[in-house]
Amino acid sequence: MNLALDRLLRKVARDASLLDGLDADTARGGIEEGDIAALLARDLPALSARGAHPLLIMQFAGALHIEAMASLRREG
């Protein structure tokens, strides 16, 4: 479990505009730069690889209109 990433992921899934103000400098509360980078890149395989909860990845994908199946299978 990547608790810090999951917490942030859940917030972004509920308010995608939070992504706009997110950069490496905003990394707080144990959120690693790689987590932030994966979020900003909307990189679902990277989020998965970094331990994000699959259901939160799906919520994130839904909020940002990313086709999860295509994105994950293409990269996977």
């Binding site: 917490r7 998965s48 699959p54 259901l55 799906m58 994908a61 999860a68 994950l72 990269e75």
Partner: protein, 285 residues
């Protein structure tokens, strides 16, 4: 002490009656991306239509529904393994492409279930009018589109480790069955499970379906071989049926409540929906 054993203390002339049990998959893609021209998808929707008519004919007073939240209503600050919804009405999340609707809650029945659980060693969590996501709303939208039948939503943790064992789920189901029998009312009860079968969520295998596992699982239920499915190991199910396949817990709970067998009405490994889609009628042996 079994719940049913205390229910006979005092006088009563009626008892609730389990009139039918059903289990269906609950992926929102069945609604969100339904292609009417696709014969496989059309067969799935025809099966839902058949069940919709069957349930309407049964005219149940209550639906006890076992399904799963998808980290919408619950999160790490408080995450129940099993949770019963109380109150009068819950709202839908409107997630996964399934429209948000108001769902009437059979709060008095929910309270009864909680109390029976306590007596039988299931200290179930409870929540007042929690929102319901597609795990509940997708099957209900397809089966009871008027949303006019009160529901007892029972949330099952099928997604976030540690997951309850399959044996524990079956024991929970047996308790639910006894709680229905012990209910002092003339309510006609339908049991409904939502979830599964094999699917991989947000992993590189997403879109894969394992019909071999799905058919084995369904065959066990048709034979009434609950021992075979409760002997499953969580990690092994993850490997064979995907992380989404853990939702077979909901089916196991429901068939244990019915104490019986399944009749498969439809099984289609729908790769476009990335899920082994199944509908089954559950009945007492």
């Amino acid at each position: 002490m079994a719940c049913s054993s205390i229910s006979f203390v005092g006088s009563r002339s009626t008892m609730a009656h389990l009139v039918a049990g059903y289990a269906t998959s609950h992926t929102g893609m069945m609604i969100r991306t339904f292609d009417r021209e696709d014969p496989v998808q059309a067969r799935v929707h025809r099966a839902f239509g058949q069940l919709r008519e069957e349930i309407a004919t049964l005219a149940p007073d209550v639906i006890v529904m076992v399904s799963s939240d998808h980290l919408n209503s619950f999160f790490y600050d408080c995450y129940p393994q099993f949770c019963v919804a109380l109150g009068k009405e819950s709202q839908g999340w409107g997630d996964a492409g399934v429209a948000a609707r108001s769902v009437p809650i059979a709060g008095d029945f929910s309270q009864h279930l909680l109390e029976c659980g306590i007596i039988e060693g299931f200290d179930l969590a409870w929540a007042v009018e929690p929102k319901l996501d597609h795990g509940f709303l997708c099957p209900l939208s397809l089966l009871t589109p008027e949303f006019d039948i009160p529901v007892v939503p029972l949330f099952m943790n099928s997604s976030t480790p540690p997951l309850p064992t399959f044996q524990r789920c079956a024991a929970l189901g047996a308790m639910i069955g006894r709680a229905i029998e012990a209910r002092e009312s003339d309510e006609r009860v339908v049991l409904l499970a939502g979830g599964g079968l094999s699917h991989w969520v947000a992993t590189p295998e997403m879109g894969k379906v394992n019909p071999v596992f799905d058919r084995w699982f369904l065959d066990c239920l048709v034979r009434g071989d609950l021992d075979a499915v409760t002997a499953l190991d969580t990690d092994d199910v993850g490997r064979q049926a995907g992380n989404g396949g853990q939702e077979i817990r909901n089916w196991i709970t429901a068939i244990a409540a019915c104490n019986g067998r399944a009749e498969v009405l439809c099984y289609e490994p729908v790769t476009r929906w990335g899920t082994g889609i199944a509908l089954a009628r559950l009945s007492a042996a």
